[in-house]
């Protein structure tokens, strides 16, 4: 027990030291030179969108964003193959207050999610924000005991999980096929970037929303909610 106490104090000191170093490094602005933001601002015209964050995510660092969506999909597959949920959400008794409030809120939330997707090209928003809101819509739908539309069909589920990654790949292959001189291989040019970014955002938001919903449900059984509203168990 005494060695345990010494260990805890040692870890506390090391943690504080690391936190102090992190704060020092971030407060000392020289450590973050040169700022990549200036480069992005300078090249914003070539990106096809006017929002800096979307330009970074879906044009300048699109490979990285694609692989982040892959991480989401792998986490989804891992969780579903473990089948962790035996106490399913819809087995709980219905809460009339929750059903009334959430039921009224859901259409507004859907609208907000779609607005965030549409706003992503010029303002803060985009596929990650929109996917998170739409995924939360799905979670709330499960919590009030309703089935989320279109999640019951197995082919639709399989398609929507991978469509966010497929959109990136189609954009890259199309860029490779139409590339002249080799400068733009596996990417899109400034003139066609806006269309590709919109397509990737729509597909990515669908994938992110469904992955978050599926992670909450914990498996196919968690999605198949068959109870009518108000029905008690």
């Amino acid at each position: 027990m005494r060695t345990r106490r010494v260990f805890e104090y040692g870890v506390a000191l090391a943690s504080l030291g690391l936190g102090g170093l992190v704060a020092l490094g971030a407060l000392n602005r020289r450590s973050l030179e040169p700022s990549a933001g200036h480069v992005v601002q300078g090249a914003l015209e070539q990106s096809g969108v006017s929002s800096v964050v979307t330009a970074v995510l879906l044009n300048f660092r699109a490979y990285d964003t694609m692989l982040e969506v892959v991480v989401l999909v792998v986490a989804f597959w891992g969780a579903w193959s473990l089948k962790p949920v035996d106490a399913q959400v819809h087995r709980r008794p219905a809460d009339p207050i929750l059903m009334r409030t959430v039921g009224g809120m859901l259409p507004v939330l859907w609208l907000l999610g779609i607005y965030l997707l549409w706003a992503g090209t010029s303002r803060p928003g985009g596929e990650f924000a929109s996917g998170a809101v739409l995924g939360a819509c799905g979670v709330l739908t499960l919590l009030i005991g309703e089935r989320v539309p279109a999640t019951g069909a197995r082919p639709a589920r399989k398609l929507v999980v991978v469509v966010g990654v497929l959109a990136f790949m189609v954009a890259g292959v199309a860029g490779a096929l139409s590339a002249e001189g080799g400068a733009e291989v596996w990417s899109y040019t400034a003139s066609e970037a806006r269309g590709w970014i919109l397509a990737i955002e729509v597909a990515g938001a669908a994938t992110i929303a469904f992955v978050l919903l599926g992670l909450f449900a914990g498996g196919r059984e968690g999605l198949d909610v068959g109870r009518r509203p108000g029905e008690s168990l």
């Binding site: 943690s15 102090g20 995510l57 991480v71 473990l82 996917g131 992670l215």
Partner: protein, 101 residues
């Protein structure tokens, strides 16, 4: 001290707390929470420590944190599913604080 410096210091504090909980705690859910607090601290340091450029804040750290939050949420969900599996395999619902892990 301006507001972004406050965010940086608070984020560094969260990094310390999360790292401590991750290393010292034995309970698996507490460890998971420690990792989450650590990642939240890193996000806050990245946003708060970002430089101002012409036309607003630096977009690159914002983009990194935006994707990082969603990835952290899904990684947490996978971690919780794994923890649930570990408990199921052992036939118990929780591991004690000073358990055998």
């Amino acid at each position: 001290m301006n507001s972004s410096q406050i965010y940086v210091i608070a984020g560094a504090g969260l990094v310390s707390v999360g790292l401590f909980a991750w290393v010292v705690r034995r309970h698996l859910v507490r460890r998971m929470m420690g990792v989450n607090i650590l990642s939240t601290g890193v996000f806050m340091v990245l946003i708060g420590g970002a430089r101002q450029v012409e036309g607003g804040p630096d977009g690159v750290p914002q983009a990194m944190v935006l994707t990082g939050i969603v990835v952290a949420v899904s990684a947490t969900a996978l971690g919780l599913a794994l923890i649930q599996r570990i408990y199921d395999q052992r036939g118990e619902r929780s591991v004690e604080e000073r358990g055998p892990m």
